[in-house]
């Protein structure tokens, strides 16, 4: 099977996993989404999206820092063709395909060969590959030419060329078997004694079996807690009935879709908060009329302003963090969301502006 056919056939099994700290890849095996432990960043909940699954909050049911594996609960519609773990061994020189979302570029498939079928790192074996994998590929599937899962793309050597490493599927099979053998759905694997620990039995973050401090337990207990202006922004979004977990793109970035408009809110290191919506693009005709309209509207708008960057029209709200208050911020962001959609329609239908082309939503 060539790479394109593999991607087309199995694309629905590929997930994107997002946390406030970054994003990675996952894939469906049976009724579980598999990814790396470092992708879920010690959180109990992550945001999941797939070809047929809009951004959804999902529960991390197993976190294994030893194998760098995590399992996420999947209660949604299953794909037509399901991925299977391979029964065959992997050999040096085998052709392989890595699928993932490197740097957020959705569903990127890269082909390569197995440079070394078994490369020891600490006491674990890894498959060394030369297929290009990058940040965002973590947790993604490594497939053979029969589209069988041979490994989980786990890490790369930074600043090197195409030195990628995948956890072989036999480790995953073992982990799935042991996890499924017990009925609890909040399991942490102790990286020291390797026992599966039920989360509720953990006290003060210590492993009840061997007594080691479990960092994952601490992170899961603490969860993600924004502070300062970030918290204020999330409070404002929540007050506008927006699910912040789903809207969150990173610790300081949120996205809201309203009608045809997409609104991005970013909090920058210099203390400036910019909420803006890249509306439509400038058309070929009546440009002067559009400019007049935007400048006139700027007279009446409060909190918001129209501007142009490159060839697109923006509606923006800018404020310095120290000036942001709940009430004013709420009015401004509510207005931005509402007006972005309204003005996008007006500019497209009355002034002939061009609808933005957008990549599918991550």
């Amino acid at each position: 099977m060539n790479t394109q056919i593999i991607l087309e056939q199995y694309i629905e099994n590929i997930m994107q996993i997002m946390t406030p700290y970054g994003s990675g890849t996952g894939f469906l095996i049976d009724d579980i989404v598999v990814t790396n432990s470092h992708v879920v960043s010690g959180l109990k909940e992550v945001v999941l999206s797939a070809k047929k699954l809009k951004r959804t909050i999902a529960k991390v049911i197993y976190d294994d820092p030893y194998l760098d594996l995590a399992f996420i609960e999947y209660n949604f519609e299953k794909p037509m063709t399901l991925l299977q773990l391979t029964n065959t061994t992997v050999d040096d020189g085998d052709t392989i395909v890595a699928i993932g979302h490197p740097y957020g570029l959705n569903y990127t498939a890269t082909e390569g060969i197995v440079s070394r079928a078994s490369r020891l790192q600490d006491d674990l074996e890894y498959i060394q590959i030369d297929a290009a994998i990058n940040p965002g590929n973590s947790g993604g599937p490594l497939l053979n030419v029969k589209a069988e899962l041979v490994g989980v793309n786990t890490f790369i050597i930074q600043n090197a060329n195409n030195l990628g490493f995948a956890l072989p599927s036999f480790y995953l099979q073992d982990a799935l078997n042991t996890f499924k053998a017990q009925k609890n759905t909040s399991i942490i694997r102790c990286p020291s004694c390797k026992n599966l620990i039920e989360e509720e039995t953990i006290q003060h973050d210590y492993c009840p079996k061997c007594g080691v401090k479990l960092e994952i337990a601490r992170l899961r207990r603490k969860g993600y807690n924004p502070t300062g202006p970030t918290k204020l922004l999330e409070d404002i979004l929540t007050s506008l009935s927006i699910n912040v977990t789903l809207a969150r793109r990173s610790q300081a970035s949120w996205r809201v879709n309203e009608g045809t408009a997409r609104i991005d809110i970013n909090y920058y290191d210099n203390g400036i908060i910019i909420g803006d919506s890249k509306l439509c693009a400038i058309p070929s005709n009546n440009i002067d009329t559009i400019y007049d309209y935007l400048l006139q509207e700027n007279e009446n708008l409060s909190y918001l302003q129209f501007s142009i960057n490159e060839n697109s029209i923006y509606l923006s709200y800018l404020i310095v963090d120290s000036s942001l208050t709940f009430n004013e911020g709420k009015v401004a962001i509510q207005r931005l969301i509402e007006y972005a959609n309204k003005y996008d329609d007006i500019l497209i239908h009355q002034y002939g502006a061009i609808t933005q082309k957008r990549d599918e939503e991550d």
């Binding site: 700027n298 409060s302 129209f306 501007s307 120290s322």
Partner: protein, 438 residues
């Protein structure tokens, strides 16, 4: 009366401003006023808070207000005007908010390119934005008074003022057919002074061209750069053109330092072409680039003193290299260049600015003589007005001693044996100042 006092009182009164910035003294109690404003905001005493704030940004010449801020307070409402070069900021403050705007051009005169330009500028601005009403295109600022501090007014007003001034100048330079509006506050430069400035720009270009011919035929790109950049920095500081000349001059300097791909030779060629353009300006074309205005905000961010010291050190190392390699002809230019470059690029405290001014006066004494300022050096006799120089330096130190208690200058280390030696010793003096505040 001591002989020192005699020199101070008999010097001509040089009222000409040099370089960019407010070219004036800030209020002596500026910090206190700023703090009072802060306290009034804390108490929600809006009118007093704004009043103190505005008094803190008034600037002075010899303790007389420049009237760069005009306030009218009636029934708890403040109407104000601020001046920043070509921009006149008019605003109103109520208990709830501040609104300020600058009229830029008539709406009917705005071309599609101008509208595109200002809509793109909206994307870059943080607090202010462009809009149009029935008559004008304006830059506006709205701030509510919730959780205000003087800092939260200063930066938005500064953005409004600096950008309105910059954009009006840009429009005049780039969209020449569109007349600027609301510029009646600008006054014309003295025609005699303009004539002198015109003569000097041509003289400097002639001297530059003659100097270039003295350079070795190969391997002279570094020296050429010093010559061309020096004249641009010099024009900026001593002539202080506005509008197109300022815009183009800034662009050329920016391109020189910003273009990492072009060779030094290619960049010199570009500067040479621009200098040739300046040479071809008629007096009328030249004069169109000048006006007199009031300023409220400094366009250059304050630089650290250490940065200036580092730059002087690096430049002195270059001078030593040229000396060792027998390229003496470029050394006086580099001594000039250090001062002009620093004045163009670094936001300095008033002490450094005044000390640099003394050096520039010495290095360009005929120019200062011809514009009616007391020269500190005689080019013909190659002699210094040593006592006057020393008294000027001493009075700068004395005037600022309250603020910088550890500021001292070892005047005995200044070397008056030649202009080059003096410059070298003066830069060494500038590198050893203590600006620790009490």
């Amino acid at each position: 009366m001591s002989w020192l006092k005699f020199f101070q009182t008999t010097q001509k009164n040089c009222k000409i401003n040099f370089g960019r910035g407010i070219n004036a003294d800030i209020a002596s109690n500026e910090e206190e006023l700023f703090y009072k404003s802060y306290e009034a905001f804390e108490k929600n005493d809006i009118v007093n808070a704004y009043e103190y704030f505005f008094y803190s940004i008034v600037n002075y010449n010899k303790q007389i207000s420049n009237k760069n801020v005009v306030l009218k307070i009636m029934d708890g409402i403040i109407n104000f005007e601020l001046f920043q070069g070509s921009a006149k900021i008019q605003g109103t403050i109520t208990q709830k908010s501040l609104y300020a705007e600058v009229i830029i051009v008539r709406k009917e005169n705005a071309t599609v390119s101008l509208k595109r330009y200002i809509l793109e500028r909206n994307y870059q601005l943080t607090y202010a934005n462009y809009y149009s009403d029935d008559k004008y295109i304006k830059l506006k600022l709205y701030q509510d008074n919730i959780s205000l501090t003087p800092q939260k007014i200063f930066f938005p007003l500064r953005e409004l003022a600096l950008n309105a001034d910059f954009d009006k100048e840009h429009i005049k330079s780039e969209f020449t057919e569109i007349p600027l509006e609301d510029i009646t506050h600008l006054s014309n430069s003295n025609p005699i002074l303009l004539k002198t400035k015109y003569e000097y720009i041509n003289l400097w270009i002639q001297e530059l061209e003659a100097k270039v011919l003295t350079l070795p035929s190969n391997d002279n790109s570094g020296m050429q750069s010093f010559l061309y950049l020096n004249i641009l920095f010099k024009i900026d500081y001593l002539l202080t053109p506005k509008y197109k000349m300022f815009q183009q001059l800034s662009k050329k300097i920016q391109e020189y330092f910003g273009n990492e791909h072009a060779t030094t030779e290619a960049k010199n060629e570009e500067l040479k072409r621009y200098v040739l353009k300046l040479k071809q300006l008629s007096f009328k074309e030249f004069s169109d680039n000048f006006y007199i205005a009031k300023y409220t905000f400094n366009p250059i961010e304050k630089s650290s003193y250490d940065n200036i010291v580092t730059f002087i050190n690096e430049s002195q190392t270059k001078i030593r290299w040229y000396k060792n390699n027998r390229y003496a002809q470029v050394i006086p230019t580099i001594y000039n260049y250090i001062a002009f470059y620093s004045l163009y690029n670094y936001g300095m405290n008033s002490v450094l600015k005044e000390l640099f001014y003394i050096l520039v006066n010495i290095q360009n004494s005929s120019f200062f003589t011809d514009i009616g300022c007391t020269p500190l050096y005689n080019e013909k006799t190659q002699s210094f007005s040593k006592r006057l120089i020393i008294s000027k330096i001493k009075s700068i130190i004395e005037e600022n001693h309250k603020k910088y208690t550890k500021l001292t200058i070892h005047i005995e280390e200044l070397n008056f044996s030649s202009l080059d030696e003096f410059c070298n010793s003066y830069y060494t003096m500038l590198k050893n100042l203590n600006f620790e505040e009490k």
